[in-house]
Amino acid sequence: MIYLRLFWEFFKTGLFAVGGGMATLPFLYDISDRTLWFTHAQLADMVAVSESTPGPIGVNMATYVGFLTGGRAGGAAGGVLGAVVATVGLITPSIIVILIVSAFLQRFRDSKYVNGAFYGLRPASTAMILAAGVLVVKAAFLPAGTLSSLDWRLPVLAAALLALTNAVKRTKKLHPIVFILGSAAVGIALRLAE
């Protein structure tokens, strides 16, 4: 039963992804590898769509995966059901954990075990996002999988975006959607996929 599996996969993601929406990314790659519900390239596109649409990015990515997976099983209605199931799966552990934590708020904050665990979890979460980023880099720069297929225009675009998002004072505070739309325009103008 595909919907039960969707719920279970996203329940695990919601339970173990610490540090916000982007932290769900390594789990999504793991799901992609094990279930083949969606490809790495599709996942990179999902990140872009999730960043560019209203709603928290982690929720959007879960909804997207759920829609694609459910949609393959049962058309548009299956897609919506999949989107709901994946999203509810993702938020169920959050609701349970937060309801427990809010009952013991003070003790939770002062606990040396909790503090210690998060001291270790934060760098691990960052490292896992980096590792997922490596897979996104592969999908973006080497669509054919080999180094000889690298289009030199892609690293140039990346360097320009890095500068615009970090170094150039007038553009670095702009919303990510501006850069995503700009990159789409560049991709169309330069026919980057051809």
């Binding site: 872009a48 896992m128 789409a184």
Partner: protein
């Protein structure tokens, strides 16, 4: 009671619509809607919820919504506020995902996504950089970072393994640091 819950749902649905990007983008909107307009939490409470929401599992926006909903209307409030914050995502993404899948074979759409993927790499790199500055604060955390990065890139192990490993490492390291500090 039902009226309260409906109000909670609609307010958080509004917050969901107005949040673009990640949980961090949500904080100013929560300040305006929940603290200033509705008075459901104080500025300090919101900061606490947000801080805990960042370090408990799950999406920060969802965690914060559960906190505020529970404070206002108990367990039912926590559940309703959370459903409210994810409701717009389900509607919008369901509409878009169908459209994008239909158009994904068109040449110009492929070209657009070739550019967009490069941009996503840069956005993820920036997120890692920002998070790294807050999470890699000393030698032990740098060690955990390198170890997990190498493990996650080179092996096919489930992320769950790394999360459990890092959590245990953190508790042990902190305990050892306390001991070392007391002995000096």
């Amino acid at each position: 009671m039902l009226k309260n819950l409906i109000e909670l749902f609609l307010t958080f649905a509004k917050v969901g619509v107005m949040t673009f990007g990640g949980g961090y983008a949500m904080l100013p909107i929560l300040q305006r809607e929940v603290v200033e307009n509705k008075g459901w939490a104080t500025e300090e409470e919101l900061a606490d919820y947000f801080a805990i929401g960042q370090c408990t599992p799950g999406v920060i926006a969802v965690n914060t919504a559960t906190f505020i909903g529970r404070k206002k209307d108990g367990v039912a409030g926590g559940v309703v506020a959370t459903l409210g914050v994810v409701f717009p995502s389900i509607v919008i993404i369901s509409l878009l995902a169908g459209v994008i899948t239909q158009f994904s074979e068109l040449t110009w759409v492929k070209n657009a996504f070739a550019g967009i993927r490069v941009c996503v790499c840069v956005l993820i790199f920036n997120a890692v950089w920002k998070l790294g500055k807050k999470s890699v604060v000393d030698k032990p955390t740098a060690g955990i970072f390198l170890l997990v990065a190498a493990g996650a890139i080179l092996t096919g192990l489930s992320p769950v393994v790394f999360v459990l490993f890092a959590g245990v490492c953190g508790v042990v390291l902190r305990a050892l640091q306390k001991k070392g500090g007391a002995a000096e």
